[in-house]
């Protein structure tokens, strides 16, 4: 890609991950400027369409995390106004944002994902779904992880060690979404494999391991706090585990129809040595400390190269 383009970097917005998004966007802007593009930063709000009409960008780089940016809303809107954009299309975004849907698709495709059920708030209120809880508990066993179906941040991710803790965990998770995922807790090593499109198709990057500094593995929140976790890249894993993790990530990338870039999160279970796919993220963080840039770097792909490839993805769909 040698043409200088007019790139609108869409960032910020009003999600809980606004701050991460602003940092991701700023970092991408620097790279775009180094690559010689004209950069227009847009903090997304009600004026977005007007702004896009004024600016008339050649392409939009989506650095929005959370709803709007990741759930297909922005992608659909950009298609409506005819602006090419980076990354996955609406369908892939919708699949990845909805952890429950993504897990159904993975399970149907034979990709290992921890066993799960999901609950909607409405079904509790209107269909007596609470009475199904004992069955869910006995099917999955404790401890359980409860996650808002569409929330990307660690907020709202709850543990339940026993049945007494489950109602509180559910209410907590329902604070962030009307649908929640109830998943068997896999104790093990926390891995992430990013996949980027390259000259010869999607390419899995080296595995990153998130190692919590503190041992309390139930404290999900602090686990994802900056400074509470050390990232190791490439992760120190047996070769076959690395290969298998990358293979699974690639399978998930293709299954969900991702494009440009995605990050797939996995667990390597202590007890079984099995790999389990938790979820995929279509707008991985792009900050200085995010996993994707680190992984790319470990594969010899500089951040600028990464951004250049991501930009290309807008023109190859």
């Amino acid at each position: 890609m040698t043409d200088a383009r007019k790139v609108a970097v869409l960032k910020g917005g009003r999600s809980l991950e606004r701050n991460v998004s602003l940092r991701s966007g700023a970092h991408a802007q620097e790279a775009l400027a180094r690559l010689g593009h004209e950069v227009i930063a847009i903090d997304v709000d009600a004026q977005l369409v007007t702004r896009l009409r004024e600016v008339e960008p050649d392409v939009a780089l989506i650095a929005l995390h959370g709803p709007d940016g990741e759930d297909g809303t922005m992608q659909t809107l950009l298609e409506a106004v005819g602006v090419p954009y980076t990354g996955s299309g609406p369908a892939a975004c919708m699949c990845c944002t909805d952890k429950v849907l993504a897990k159904h698709l993975m399970r149907n495709a034979g990709i290992p994902t921890p066993s799960f059920h999901s609950l909607r708030e409405a079904s509790i209120k209107e269909l007596g779904a609470a009475d199904a809880l004992p069955a869910v508990e006995s099917a999955l066993g404790f401890p359980l992880v409860v996650k808002p179906a569409s929330q990307g941040s660690a907020l709202g991710v709850k543990f339940a060690r026993n049945e007494d803790e489950l109602p509180g965990a559910l209410v907590g998770a329902f604070s962030y979404d009307r649908k929640v995922l109830i998943e068997r807790y896999v104790r093990g090593r926390d891995l992430a494999v990013s996949v980027i499109d390259g000259p010869s198709g999607p390419q899995p990057l080296p595995v990153v391991e998130a190692v919590p500094r503190e041992e309390d593995f139930y404290d999900y929140e602090s686990r994802y706090e900056i400074g509470m976790t050390t990232f190791v890249c490439p992760a120190e894993l047996p070769d076959d585990a690395t290969a298998r993790a990358q293979e699974l990530a690639l399978d998930v990338y293709r299954l969900l129809g991702c494009r440009g870039v995605a990050r797939v999160d996995l667990m390597l279970e202590d007890a079984s040595d099995e790999l389990w796919v938790l979820e995929a993220n279509v707008i991985p963080g792009m900050t200085e400390t995010s996993l994707l840039p680190q992984a790319a770097d470990a594969a010899g792909v500089s951040f600028d190269e990464l951004i250049a490839r991501l930009l290309d993805s807008a023109f190859t769909r």
Binding site: A4, L16, A31, L155, E163, L170, Y176, E288, Q294, D304
Partner: protein
């Protein structure tokens, strides 16, 4: 925004960003590990949106300050003291500002020697300088539980270990303090100072009783410990009799000089005038003061000359019969805040239901409300913000471990118009009601979203007539519920 380096696209891949995390991580000081940016704090940052009613701020209402007076004073400073206003000032502060500080403290019955005052950039800087002066990594600070959320990151940055002591309606129980101090001593740990906000505590809203104030000063003397007395709101009392500051009690302990030996006093113009001025102060024993001064030199050399001159001009202003105008403004603020407090308390009565309780502060800016213990206020905030457009400070922010206080919240009434207070509380109440209904359904205790547990209001019920910090709501109820559910399961 300009198309600067056109044509440089393909060939040049300048400045690759290698292993940035690892690169910087290796350079960071160990203390930065304590500087956490928590998801909760990020979420709180998002509450500052125009479409959200925020009861989360620590704000006074600056819209009450007369614009023409502000303009007049600023013009005076600009026209008559141009060079001084634009120049550096002394680290300890400008004499004119120090005189105002002495006057403010005298209004609270506390006499201080101007030579023992240092002007700081907001009260927050005092907390930072005191830690800088006193705390080695691992040293212990004893604080109230809950404590000022803004002090938590400062304590963490200096790698202090913080022991928090639960308060009751009379503030920090000093016998509890003593047993904590005994325990620390037995463990060979080193308490350096006791951090307290005796008046209308932030966030707890309670006031330390006179007996406890006296005893606290005695304990400090018995054990040679410093006290950091944080008193931003002392003059904002809406009812009841003013109590002496710890500083003045310490000064009475009967040394030859009329100054405190072991109390470092923190004051600020933020709540009686303006936080935008960024002017606070410390009064401290001279050896401590010297170190604070050195610390301040390293931090910012001096506080703003412009705002110090502004304050000095403001304090010269008089209203009828020679009364200082700042006292008149203070009365105006007190009247406004008293009314808003009452609006909030009434709204809480109406919307927070049987299970909640809250403090009834005699002054200050905040009410501390504690809900049913099945509510986690951090999660509640996420839902309240998103679906109801209302925000507050979740209780966990007031605990150094970030875990306790999970069913409490801090509510600001001072900086919020009456209607917004009513509407904000109504909306929070609605989310609480909804969450409890859902909890009830999930735990099998109550299919309806109606009152969950009207049967056992723990200890006194919600409508407190005297100030009191809520107890944690009694637990047995939950056991009963899960017992019910277990039976159902069989």
């Amino acid at each position: 925004m300009t198309r600067s380096i056109s044509g440089a696209g393909g060939g040049r891949r300048a400045r690759p960003t290698a292993h940035e995390l690892a690169r910087y991580e290796a350079l960071f000081a160990a203390r930065t590990r304590g500087m956490k940016s928590s998801a909760m704090r990020e979420m709180m940052a998002l509450t500052e949106r125009p479409d959200v009613i925020s009861l989360a701020g620590g704000l006074p209402d600056t819209s009450t300050f007369a614009p023409e007076l502000y303009a007049k004073l600023m013009s005076q400073v600009a026209a008559e003291q141009t060079a001084r206003a634009l120049q550096y000032g002394p680290t300890e502060g400008m004499a004119g500002a120090v005189e105002c500080i002495v006057e403010v403290m005298a209004a609270e019955g506390t006499l201080v020697d101007p030579d023992e005052v240092i002007v700081t950039t907001g009260g927050q800087q005092v907390i930072d300088l005191v830690c800088k002066t006193l705390i080695d990594p691992g040293d212990v600070i004893v604080a109230e539980a809950p404590t000022y959320p803004g002090a938590v990151p400062t304590f963490s940055a200096y790698q202090a270990e913080v022991e928090q002591i639960d308060m009751d309606a009379d503030g920090m129980p000093i016998d509890e303090l003593e047993s904590v101090l005994d325990r620390l001593q037995a463990q060979g740990r080193r308490p350096k100072f006791i951090y307290t906000i005796p008046n209308f505590q932030n966030p707890g809203g309670v006031t330390m009783s006179l007996a406890r104030r006296r005893r606290l000063v005695e304990v400090a003397h018995e054990r040679e410990l410093l006290i950091l007395e944080d008193n931003p709101y002392g003059l904002l009392r809406y009812e009841g009799e003013p109590l002496p500051t710890l500083y003045s009690l310490d000064a009475q302990v009967g040394r030859t000089r009329a100054a405190a030996d072991l109390v470092i006093y923190l004051g600020t113009f933020s709540k009686i005038l303006s936080p935008g001025l960024r002017l606070g102060w410390a009064v401290a024993p001279r050896p401590v003061l010297e170190k604070l001064n050195l610390g301040k030199q390293g931090a910012d050399l001096c506080s703003s000359s412009v705002t110090q001159l502004f304050v000095a001009e403001y304090f010269k202003e008089q209203q009828g019969r020679g009364e200082p105008r700042w006292l008149g403004y203070l009365e105006q603020l007190k009247e406004l805040y008293r009314r808003r407090r009452d609006v909030m308390l009434a709204a809480l009565d109406e919307h927070f239901g049987e299970q909640a309780r809250w403090t009834k502060p005699e002054g200050g800016l905040f009410v501390w409300a504690t809900l049913d213990d099945r509510i986690d206020t951090t999660d509640l905030l996420a839902q309240a913000r998103e679906s109801e457009g209302v925000a507050f400070v979740p209780g966990r922010a007031a605990y150094v471990d970030g875990q306790r206080g999970s069913c409490s919240m801090r509510l600001n009434f001072a900086g919020v118009p009456d209607d917004d207070i009513r509407e904000g509380i109504r909306r929070i109440g609605r989310v609480v009601h909804e969450q409890l209904g859902l909890y009830g359904t999930l735990s099998g205790s109550s299919p309806a979203a109606k009152p969950l547990v009207a049967t056992e209001p723990a200890g006194g019920g919600p409508k407190q007539t005297s100030p009191g910090l809520a107890d944690v709501v009694a637990l047995p109820r939950r056991d009963r519920e899960s017992a019910t559910r277990r039976q159902k399961d069989r």
